[in-house]
């Protein structure tokens, strides 16, 4: 059964990646011509995927800080996995936003000529700093196990060689070296926390500071982004810990149950914030952005909110977490559901704000396929998204297979 399941997953990945490559070829050959975003709805699926994945990264990182900053020992075993998920999710998100750029080849200008008045420039510099810290932290967190793997005759030659390369030539396992590295790790993790908070909140602020879009221009938006980041990061971590763990023992069940309880708390917390986000503009029915909230909740894409987000991403996981809190499979599914459906929340941030003409009647003015106030991604956009997701999944799988991410032996 497991064998058949595995085969099926490989097949699904192969199809997703193959279709994704087709999408990338289209993107490189035809530019933006095959996409549905245009001049009025300018940000679409890829931007939503970017904020989804970068949030997931910050969330997983912040959870890893429970281990590396706050020394929560019961979670110690997922620390390295969380760091690796954070690293890969950020890369996936950046891949998505790179394809979205009008001129991909000029991306480096955000470093060579930044404008620090721009919230986007802040976000970019913050995630760059965050990326560097993350990379260094992952190195120090993994190095002792990499050294052990490189010497372990039970590992395949490939795993041993890769492990040796990744140690960057530092092979010492002397207690004083490990102690020093643990301190470095703690410092890095401590520096990373404000960076991750600022970066994921900054992505929210990128939207919230746009005063012309009332749907975004709410002070709760950066807070929602930060909380959403931790929710989705917690979801993916719970799912991976439940299903990708090498051993299925009592300790594993306890770890997953703990992650499940944290996830339940996070999801419920997010629902509370979301209630604040939507109930306030809707309450008296006279808010200037109320009709956009109504559009997101009850418009043609109502199902994105009610079925994907509320049904599959909130109610079902909460039921699983409440009714089967000790069953690693149920908790794992809850985690995966929360993480996978969270992209719907991101879509409901990005799109509705853009579908309203700045001036009534603009939709009747000079029109054309790109001068419209509605949006649904084209096949091309889904294909590129498929490439991003398949690449991210492959990197996660490769990491789980070739890196000591879930070693029970801890560096300390």
């Amino acid at each position: 059964m497991r064998w058949a399941m595995r085969r099926l997953l490989y097949l699904v990945w192969l199809v997703a990646f193959g279709l994704g490559l087709w999408g990338i070829a289209e993107r490189l050959l035809f530019g933006h011509r095959l996409a549905a975003y245009g001049s009025y709805v300018v940000w679409g699926l890829w931007v939503a995927i970017y904020i989804y994945m970068s949030g997931l990264s910050a969330g997983a990182f912040l959870l890893s800080s429970l281990v590396y900053v706050f020394r929560l020992e019961r979670l110690e075993r997922v620390g390295k996995l969380a760091l690796f998920v954070a690293l890969i999710a950020l890369l996936g998100g950046l891949l998505a936003i790179w394809f979205d750029l009008g001129r991909m080849e000029r991306f480096y200008r955000v470093y060579t000529s930044p404008n620090f008045q721009s919230m986007m420039a802040w976000m970019i510099w913050l995630y760059t700093a965050y990326f560097v810290v993350l990379l260094a932290e992952a190195y120090f967190a993994l190095r002792p196990d990499l050294v052990r793997w490189s010497r372990d005759p039970n590992r395949s030659p490939g795993q041993r060689t890769l492990a040796r390369w990744l140690t960057l030539g530092r092979a010492s396992l002397a207690p004083e070296v490990l102690e020093r590295e643990r301190r470095v790790l703690q410092v890095l993790a401590t520096v990373g926390v404000p960076l991750a908070v600022a970066f994921s909140g900054g992505v929210g602020a990128l939207f919230a500071t746009v005063s012309g879009k009332l749907y975004w221009h709410q002070s709760i938006v950066p807070i929602l982004f930060l909380t959403g980041a931790v929710v989705s990061g917690g979801g993916v971590l719970t799912g991976l810990a439940a299903f990708a763990w090498p051993h299925r023992d009592a300790e594993h069940r306890e770890l997953v149950a703990l992650l499940g309880r944290m996830l339940l708390l996070l999801v419920v917390g997010y629902v509370l914030l979301e209630w604040a986000e939507f109930s306030i503009p809707l309450w008296y029915g006279t808010s200037p952005e109320g009709h956009l909230v109504r559009l997101a909740l009850f418009g043609p894409y109502w199902w994105v909110f009610w079925i994907v987000h509320v049904g599959l991403g909130t109610v079902l996981p909460v039921l699983l977490l409440v009714l089967r809190p000790k069953d690693p499979r149920a908790v794992g599914w809850a985690g995966l559901l929360v993480a996978a459906t969270f992209v719907s929340v991101r879509l409901n941030v990005v799109i509705p704000a853009q579908v309203e003409p700045a001036l009534r009647g603009l939709e009747q003015a000079f029109t054309g396929p790109r001068l419209v106030f509605h949006y649904f991604p084209t096949t091309h956009e889904w294909l590129v998204a498929s490439f991003v997701v398949a690449t991210t999944a492959a990197l996660l799988w490769l990491g789980a297979r070739f890196l000591p991410l879930m070693e029970t032996e801890v560096a300390r």
């Binding site: 933006h32 000029r106 200008r109 404008n115 986007m120 001036l359 009534r360």
Partner: protein
């Protein structure tokens, strides 16, 4: 001969005509075309140093008939591709049938004095010029489109690289013709900028700086659009923008537009 070079797209019309534009205009006469007065205002402004000019536009909504000639003239002047428009005429239907009327609001870029689109640019590709124009440096823009979402007037659009003759056997000659925005030559060939960039109305600075009024002003059949130097108290725009019936769009946002509407 110059007409031929213009038709072949080798020179900007304003550039080719600059000799004529610099020539002396007829003396002021009662009942003359208002374009002549604005032309004189323009010549006067151009004799000043650039940083002392403050370009502004006034649009008389009572005169606008919604013909969209300005929109199309602008498309032709700047060789705008599909999906890019600098000056649509907003067509608002008011009331319910049979008691219906329409209101037309031509909407160029407001060239705000406090532009929300400028500080958001992560790479300093868009900026406010000394003369008040909000410009885009196509060679610098990375195409993130943050400025487009930040504009509260939807006045910026995205060049996705399309052509009106996509899917036909031959690219039309017009679409191969370069545009001369910001006084430079832009061909869009081989996906070159401004493809992939944010684009917007720039009050036709490439024409204005050669003494020619913006295309939307000269093409307006009802003479509903006025242009000139707001820093010149004798200019027609200065007269009009200080009238009590002059309003600006979304003043509450504090953007300080340089486009005034006469109600």
């Amino acid at each position: 001969m110059w007409a031929l070079t213009v038709l072949e797209g080798q020179r900007a019309p304003a550039e080719a005509a600059s000799g004529a534009a610099g020539a002396a205009l007829p003396k002021e006469r009662e009942g003359e075309d208002v374009l002549l007065r604005m032309q004189r205002d323009l010549q006067r402004a151009l004799r000043k140093p650039a940083h002392l000019r403050r370009w502004a536009m006034v649009i008389d909504l009572r005169k606008c008939v919604g013909c969209s000639a300005c929109t199309i003239a602008c498309v032709a002047e700047n060789k705008l591709p599909p999906g890019v428009v600098y000056r649509p005429v907003v067509d608002e239907e008011i009331g319910t049938y049979p008691h219906v009327t329409r209101r037309f609001i031509p909407r160029p870029c407001m060239q705000c004095d406090n532009p929300p689109c400028v500080p958001v640019c992560p790479v300093n590709a868009t900026y406010k010029r000394a003369d008040g124009i909000v410009a885009v440096n196509y060679d610098q823009c990375i195409g993130c489109r943050y400025c487009i979402v930040a504009c509260p007037y939807n006045a910026r659009t995205f060049d996705a690289g399309e052509y009106y003759t996509d899917g036909t056997p031959e690219r039309s000659a017009v679409e191969k013709t370069p545009s001369f925005e910001y006084g430079k030559r832009w061909t869009r060939e081989h996906e070159a900028s401004p493809v992939g960039n944010a684009r917007k109305c720039h009050f036709c600075v490439h024409r204005v700086e050669r003494g020619v009024l913006p295309e939307c002003v000269t093409s307006c059949i009802g003479r509903a659009t006025y242009f000139g130097d707001a820093a010149d108290p004798d200019a027609l725009v200065s007269e009009l923008m200080h009238r009590p019936n002059a309003v600006r769009l979304k003043e509450e946002l504090g953007t300080k537009p340089r486009v005034y509407y006469l109600l």
